[in-house]
Amino acid sequence: MILSLARASLVRHRTRTLLAVIGVAISAAMLLDMVMLASGMRVSFRSLLLSQGFQIRLAPRGTLPFDTDATIPGASSIIARLEARADVLAVSPVLGAQLHVERGGASVSAAALGTLAAVQGDYKVLTGRAPTGDGEAAVNDALLAAVGARIGDTLRVAAGFDPQLRGYTGQRTIRIVGRVHFTYLAAGERALALPLAVLQAMEGPSQADRVSLMMVRLRDGAAVEAARQAIDREIPEVSAISTASAIEQVEQRLSYFRQLAFILGTVSLAVGFLLVTTLVTVSVNERLGEIAVLRAIGVRRIRIVEQILIEGTVIMLGGAVAGLGLGLLTARYLNSILAAFPGLPEAIDFFLFQPRDAWVALGLLAACGILAGVYPAWHGASRPIAGTLREEAVA
């Protein structure tokens, strides 16, 4: 009976109920988006960092990987020291540079990564193979499109200019041996991978035996934090950064979005709560006589309270379910806006859907729906029966 009465009450004012559900749906969508935003970056960034199986990154002391143009000197000696450690499985050195790529009279600039093909974790080979010898390179789709080349074609690349001689420096003719996808680069960023020694030689004496970054893969069961601390202590040229500390530093930089998510999520919840409270309060005030009659014929006070609480919860949950779909749509749209951040790796999602997020949003809304009905339910159910009936009869 309670359910029937609650349903009848909601259906009696269809427009009002529909508007309330729409209002709650928008609030729910916003809440879901903000819950996704709060956790999405962390999860997405973490999975990106761990995707290649490297737990520790070494950057020039005091910097984050590729945050500056600084490089690590004496790379081969550092690699040897790292490989001598019992807990280190592999070390992948990376040198980053900007190269000029020429083909058929056209010249474009592209990011170049010098890596060791056997241990690299910066790209995935889509077609062909990784570059291993002098004069070989693997290229991503953006660069292939920019220079109109294919696997097997040759390109002229240069590391810089010599203004006095009016010519390129560090020039090479390279053959494209593979088409690759760079894991950490932004969408549409033109890039190519070369063997590390080739890129170091192209950059000249200033980059001899230098790298921008080293990625360290530990053996199974090795203590990551202990290894990080030991490396950081023993090698003064580098800052050792674990996945956890990298996430922490990125979160610190992007704390704005987390705080925005918290504030907007709270506001969404408050708006939904106010909307349902207002609606249920007005609805109860309109039905004081009806409630008094129910109580007069023996319906217990608790049943009245239950009915009103069900009304609030149904509106909240109805809106929440509708808001789930709406939230996923708006999240995709908002994510497409933020994906345009310059330099943001393509794999990073600000709004990452996880079932846990939906349950959190749904739980919060359900709790709000119940709370929203508490005051009007108590107000309606605790009115004196005789007095209320008389007032309603007079009215």
Partner: protein
């Protein structure tokens, strides 16, 4: 001539060692954030080295520099110092190279001419106008701005629905009053106007409260993020134009919601409003 050094890891501040300097120490300017964190003061002696632990040049802190309100650097925690150009070139083995030149021109026309002339004659570098650089470096903020606008649209839609709901509840509450007024001869048009006026007044009161709340929140946001990022940058700006747009939007929504709600009242016959 002063050079800007963006790479703090190239530099290591350490106590003066026992080796006497080969020439009188030169001076550097230190960003006040670094000075505060490292406990540096004017007159302190430091050693600048390209790599931690290596020998370097002894310098004296001669000035503390306030960081400019540069949005492109707000999230970066990098420290900065300013060093004499020749000293930095020598220190990092950069030869006689520089990363960029800043050229002052005599007006817009001269800028365009200079850009063309430099690009035509120079090899190995390109000239950009300050406007081009500003557009390029503000991409991040354009993205954030678009994100804020999208959130704003969602908020406006939510507010509109909320307002419409409230107005609907308000007019529903007064069905009998309105029925009585209609039976007394008050025209539907007058009732409509009164409802719309009421909703406009509610929207106006809400706008005033919203402007006050928004200003307070804006002040808090600036205070909070200026502390978090240690920058004089203004994060939230409440301008007359923004207030005007917000109030106008609020009034439009209020009037629209009132009109829609009033339509429900005046379209029904008075006796039907009485429930007969």
């Amino acid at each position: 001539m002063i050079a800007l050094l963006p790479l703090i890891p190239l530099l290591a501040a350490q106590s003066i060692d026992s080796q006497p300097p080969r020439h009188p120490p030169r001076t550097i300017a230190v960003d006040e954030r670094l000075a505060r964190d490292a406990g540096l003061r004017i007159g302190d002696t430091l050693v600048l080295a390209p790599t931690p632990g290596q020998a370097g040049d002894t310098v004296i802190v001669s000035a503390l520099v306030k960081r400019p309100a540069d949005p492109s650097e707000v999230a970066r925690g990098a420290y900065r110092i300013r060093v004499h150009l020749d000293e930095l070139q020598q220190l990092v083995g950069y030869g006689e190279r520089v990363e960029r030149f800043a050229v002052a021109t005599r007006g817009h026309a001269a800028t365009d001419t200079a850009l063309g002339a430099i690009d035509a004659s120079a090899f190995g570098f390109r000239a950009y106008s300050s406007r081009e650089i500003a557009v390029e470096s503000s991409t991040t903020f354009l993205v954030v701005s678009r994100f804020h606008r999208a959130i704003g649209v969602i908020t406006i839609v939510a507010s509109a629905v909320f307002l419409l709901c409230i107005m609907l509840l308000k007019v529903d509450e007064r069905r009998r009053d309105v029925a009585a007024l209609r039976l007394m001869g008050i025209s539907a048009r007058t009732i409509m106007r009164s409802v719309v006026l009421e909703s406009a007044l509610i929207a106006a009161c809400g706008s005033v409260a919203g402007v006050a709340l928004g200003s307070a929140v804006s002040a808090f946001v600036n205070w909070h993020y200026q502390r978090v990022y240690r920058t004089p940058l203004t994060f939230s700006l409440v301008t007359g134009e923004i207030i005007g747009i917000a109030v106008a939007l609020s009034l439009c929504l209020g009037v629209g919601a009132g009109w829609l709600a009033a339509q429900r009242l005046v379209r029904q016959p008075p006796l039907s409003l009485f429930g007969r």
